[in-house]
C-alpha cells in the first residue's frame, strides 16, 4: 500500500473568529496527483499557504514526508516546491537569470545548477528565449517560467496553485503534459483549480472544497458516478405550484431534486427518459418553465449538485 506523504488533520484557519478553512482532513498518497477543486474564495490558497509553511493554522496539524509543518518548517521547506497563483518571477530578469536565482536560493550551485536550469528551460520550451527578459514573454511563457522556478530543487511534493489562470490553450496543454511527466517520474502533486476539466484530466483524486470545508473527496470517476445520470436544470416561474414539484419527484427516472434560486436541479437515473417524463408532466400539469438545461455528468455538475451553485459563480 502506498504511504501518505501529506497528512492534514482537522485544519482550521480563522480570521477574527471567522473561519476561512474549517476542519479540513485529507491525506495525499506518494506519487499521487491530488486536486483541490472549488470556486474562488473557497479556501484553496489558504490551505496551500498552511501546507507550505506560509501561514500558521489556527488549529489542526499538517505533516509532509513525516515532518510536522509547524515544528520542522525548514526540513519541510526543503522537500516541497510551490508554484503560486501569481506570476512569482522577476519580470526585469531573463528566464535563465530567474531560474539561476531560485536555484541558488535552494542551494544549487556550479555545474549542477547550470545543468538543472538548462533542463528546465528545455522542459518549459524556453531554450531559445532563455536570455530574454520575462517581461517580454507572453502570459503562457511567464506561467512556464513560474512552474520551472518551483522545480529546480526537484521537490518531493509540488504545490500548484491555479497554474493555468490566464493561459492560452496551447500553453495549458504544455503545462498539463509536463505535470503528467513529473508525476510519472514520482513527484507528488497537489493541484488547486476551479476548472473542473483540469481536475478531471489530471487528478487521481479530487477534494471538492466549498466555504472552507471539504464536501466530497474521491476519484473524479467515483464523484461523477455518484450522480447516477445527468442533471436537468429547470427554470421555473415564481407561480409554480408545490404540487408540480411533488409530482416531479415521483417520476421514475428522477433520482432527487434540489432547489437553486428560481430553478430546480433534477438529478436523474437516465437523462433521456427523465426528459421525456418531465415534458409529459409539464403538459399534463399545464405548467410552464423559463429554461431547461441538461448538464452532463462531470465535476461541475457534482459541485452544482452538492452546493446548488456553479463552480464559477
Amino acid at each position: 500500500m502506498t504511504k501518505n506523504i501529506v497528512e492534514v488533520d482537522n485544519l482550521v484557519k480563522s480570521y477574527n473568529g471567522i473561519p476561512a478553512v474549517n476542519g479540513v482532513n485529507f491525506a495525499i498518497r506518494q506519487g499521487e496527483i491530488f486536486g483541490l477543486l472549488g470556486p474562488n474564495g473557497a479556501g484553496k490558497t489558504t490551505i496551500i499557504s498552511m501546507l507550505t509553511c506560509l501561514l500558521m493554522p489556527t488549529s489542526g496539524k499538517v505533516s509532509i514526508a513525516g515532518h510536522d509543518v509547524a515544528n520542522q518548517a525548514k526540513t519541510v521547506k526543503g522537500s516541497i516546491g510551490l508554484v503560486p497563483q501569481d506570476l512569482a518571477v522577476y519580470p526585469q530578469l531573463s528566464a535563465r537569470d530567474n531560474l539561476l536565482f531560485f536555484g541558488r536560493i535552494y542551494g544549487l550551485k556550479g555545474q549542477q545548477l547550470r545543468q538543472r536550469v538548462n533542463d528546465l528551460l528545455q522542459m518549459a520550451g524556453l531554450n531559445e528565449r532563455a536570455n530574454d527578459l520575462v517581461n517580454n514573454f507572453s502570459g503562457g511563457m511567464k506561467r512556464r517560467v513560474n512552474i520551472a522556478a518551483g522545480l529546480l530543487h526537484q521537490p518531493q511534493v509540488l504545490f500548484l496553485d491555479e497554474p493555468t489562470v490566464g493561459v492560452d490553450p496551447q500553453s495549458r496543454n504544455f503545462i498539463f503534459d509536463n505535470i503528467e511527466r513529473l508525476n510519472q517520474q514520482g513527484m507528488t502533486i497537489l493541484y488547486t483549480t476551479h476548472y473542473m476539466e483540469e481536475a478531471e484530466r489530471l487528478c487521481h483524486r479530487v477534494a471538492i472544497i466549498d466555504r472552507g470545508q471539504i464536501i466530497a473527496l474521491d476519484t473524479p470517476k467515483a464523484l461523477i458516478d455518484s450522480l447516477g445520470g445527468s442533471i436537468i436544470r429547470l427554470g421555473l416561474p415564481e407561480t409554480t405550484k408545490q404540487t408540480f414539484i411533488a409530482q416531479l419527484k415521483k417520476l421514475p427516472a428522477v433520482k432527487n431534486i434540489s432547489r437553486q434560486d428560481n430553478a430546480l436541479l433534477v438529478q436523474t437515473h437516465h437523462s433521456q427518459e427523465a426528459l421525456v417524463q418531465i415534458i409529459q408532466l409539464l403538459n399534463t400539469a399545464k405548467t410552464t418553465i423559463t429554461t431547461l438545461e441538461i448538464l452532463e455528468p462531470n465535476l461541475e455538475s457534482v459541485f452544482l449538485h452538492l452546493t446548488g451553485r456553479r463552480l464559477r459563480d
Binding site: C53, L54, K77, I80, A88, Y90, F102, I105
Partner: protein, 416 residues
C-alpha cells in the same frame, strides 16, 4: 467613449481620495516644504522673524563699542546676545559656545577699543589713535555667505560712528569747550587715524583648527550627498512592496531560507548602493565641480573619518528604508511616504539650509533626524579638520538611529 472616460476618471478620483499617502505627497509635502524652507531661510534673508545669532563680547565698555552694539541690535538679520545665562559674555565663554556648536559667530570688541580709536579725539587725555582690531570668532564650518554680512555691518557701523557728525557728537560729550577750528582739525585727524588703524580679524576658537576655509563645495557636497543617500528609503520600500505584490516574496518564504537572511539579502545591495553614491558624489566634488569654476572638494587631513561617517550614515538610511517598507502597504504609499520622509528630513536636518541660520527651535528639531548628525560628521572632517576619534559621537548617534529604525521596522514588518 466619453462615458468611459468619465467613468474611469471618477473611479480614479475615488481611489485617490482613499490613498492617504498619495494625498500627503500631493498636498502635505509642498505645504510642509514651503513652511520649513520659509522659516529656515528667514534668518538668511532678514525678512522673517528669525535672525542669525551673534554673540558680542564687550571687553571695552566704552562709548564707541556701545554705539556698535546698539547698531548691531538695530540691524535686521542679527540677534545680538551680550549675555549668556544672565552673565556678561567673555571671550572664553564665546569660545566655549562656538566649540560646543551652540553658536557659530562672536564679535569681540577688545579692551580699550574706544580709547584706542578715539584717543586723538579726546584732548583731555591727549592720546594718539592706535591700531585696534575687532575679532570675529567663527566656527570654521560657517560659510562666508554668513560671515560676509556681519563683517559688512561692522564696517558700516564703524564708518557711521566715525563720520564728522558722529565725532562732533562725541566731542560735544567729551570736550564741550573746544573752539570750532580745533574741532575741525581733530575731526579730520581722527577720521584718518581711526579708519586706517581699525581692522576686523577673523579667528577660530582654539581646537577648531581651520585646515581650509569652508566654501560652497564643502557646504553643498555633503549636504546633497545626504539628501540623495536617504532617498534610498523610497527605493528600498518599493523593492519590498513590489516583491510582495509580484508573489516572489511569498516564493522566497517557502524556500528553506531564514527571515533574517532574506532581510539582510534585500537590504545589503542598497547599503552598497549608498556607499557607491557617496563615493561618486564626493568624486564629482573633487573632479567635476572645479570644471565649473568652483573650488574642488578637499577631503581634509583625516579622510578616514569620512569613511566611518559614511558607513554609519548608510546604515541609518537602510534602516529607514526597511521602516518605510514595513509601514507602507502599496507602491503609491511607499513612493509617497519615502519621498516625503527623504525630503522633509533633509530640510529639517540642514541639507538645504544650514541649521545655524534656523530659529532655535528648528536647530533643536534638526537633531531628531540623522541628516543633521551626518552633516555635522562630514563637516567635522572636511572643514574643522577633526580626526577619526573626534567624529565618533556623530557616528554613535547615527548608529543609534540605525538601530531604532531597524528595531521599529522589524516590529512592524509583516512577512505574510
Amino acid at each position: 467613449m466619453l462615458r468611459h472616460i468619465i467613468a474611469i476618471t471618477w473611479k480614479d478620483l475615488k481611489i485617490l481620495a482613499r490613498n492617504r499617502a498619495a494625498l500627503a505627497v500631493l498636498f502635505a509635502m509642498p505645504v510642509g516644504f514651503v513652511l520649513v524652507m520659509t522659516t529656515a531661510l528667514g534668518g538668511l534673508f532678514g525678512g522673517g522673524k528669525s535672525a542669525i545669532p551673534v554673540l558680542v563680547v564687550n571687553e571695552d565698555k566704552g562709548y564707541l563699542s556701545t554705539q556698535i552694539i546698539e547698531g548691531l541690535k538695530a540691524a535686521e538679520g542679527f540677534k545680538v546676545e551680550t549675555e549668556w545665562e544672565g552673565q556678561s559674555l567673555t571671550t572664553a565663554k564665546a569660545e566655549e559656545l562656538i566649540i560646543s556648536r551652540k553658536r557659530q559667530l562672536a564679535v569681540i570688541l577688545p579692551a580699550d577699543f574706544s580709547q584706542n580709536i578715539l584717543g586723538s579725539a579726546s584732548p583731555s587725555q591727549n592720546l594718539q589713535p592706535q591700531a585696534t582690531t575687532i575679532q570675529l570668532m567663527v566656527d570654521p564650518a560657517l560659510s562666508p555667505q554668513f560671515t560676509g554680512p556681519i563683517v559688512g555691518t561692522l564696517q558700516g557701523l564703524l564708518l557711521q560712528a566715525l563720520t564728522p557728525v558722529g565725532i562732533e557728537r562725541l566731542l560735544d560729550q567729551t570736550a564741550p569747550g573746544m573752539s570750532q577750528q580745533q574741532r575741525q582739525a581733530i575731526v579730520e585727524q581722527a577720521r584718518q587715524g581711526m579708519l586706517s588703524g581699525t581692522s576686523i580679524e577673523q579667528i577660530t576658537p582654539p581646537g577648531m583648527s581651520v585646515r581650509q576655509l569652508p566654501n560652497t563645495t564643502q557646504q553643498n557636497v555633503p549636504s546633497y550627498t545626504l539628501f540623495g543617500v536617504f532617498f534610498i528609503c523610497q527605493v528600498i520600500g518599493l523593492s519590498f512592496i513590489r516583491e510582495k505584490q509580484d508573489g516572489t516574496f511569498r516564493r522566497l518564504l517557502v524556500a528553506p531560507l531564514s527571515k533574517s537572511a532574506l532581510l539582510i539579502g534585500k537590504l545589503l545591495p542598497y547599503y552598497l548602493v549608498n556607499l557607491i553614491q557617496i563615493v561618486l558624489i564626493f568624486a564629482a566634488g573633487i573632479w567635476i565641480v572645479p570644471l565649473l569654476g568652483n573650488p574642488a572638494l578637499n577631503l581634509g587631513v583625516h579622510p578616514e573619518g569620512l569613511i566611518v561617517v559614511s558607513l554609519a550614515t548608510a546604515a541609518a538610511a537602510s534602516g529607514l528604508g526597511l521602516l518605510v517598507a514595513a509601514l507602507a502597504k502599496t507602491p503609491e504609499a511607499t513612493g509617497g511616504v519615502g519621498a516625503l520622509i527623504a525630503v522633509m528630513m533633509a530640510a529639517i536636518g540642514g541639507c538645504f539650509v544650514p541649521a545655524f541660520v534656523m530659529p532655535n527651535f528648528m536647530q533643536t528639531l534638526s537633531k531628531i533626524v540623522p541628516h543633521a548628525w551626518a552633516l555635522q560628521g562630514y563637516q567635522d572632517v572636511l572643514v574643522r579638520g577633526y580626526s577619526l576619534g573626534q567624529v565618533m559621537p556623530e557616528v554613535g548617534v547615527l548608529l543609534i538611529f540605525a538601530a531604532v529604525f531597524f528595531g521599529f521596522a522589524l516590529w512592524r514588518f509583516r512577512f505574510d
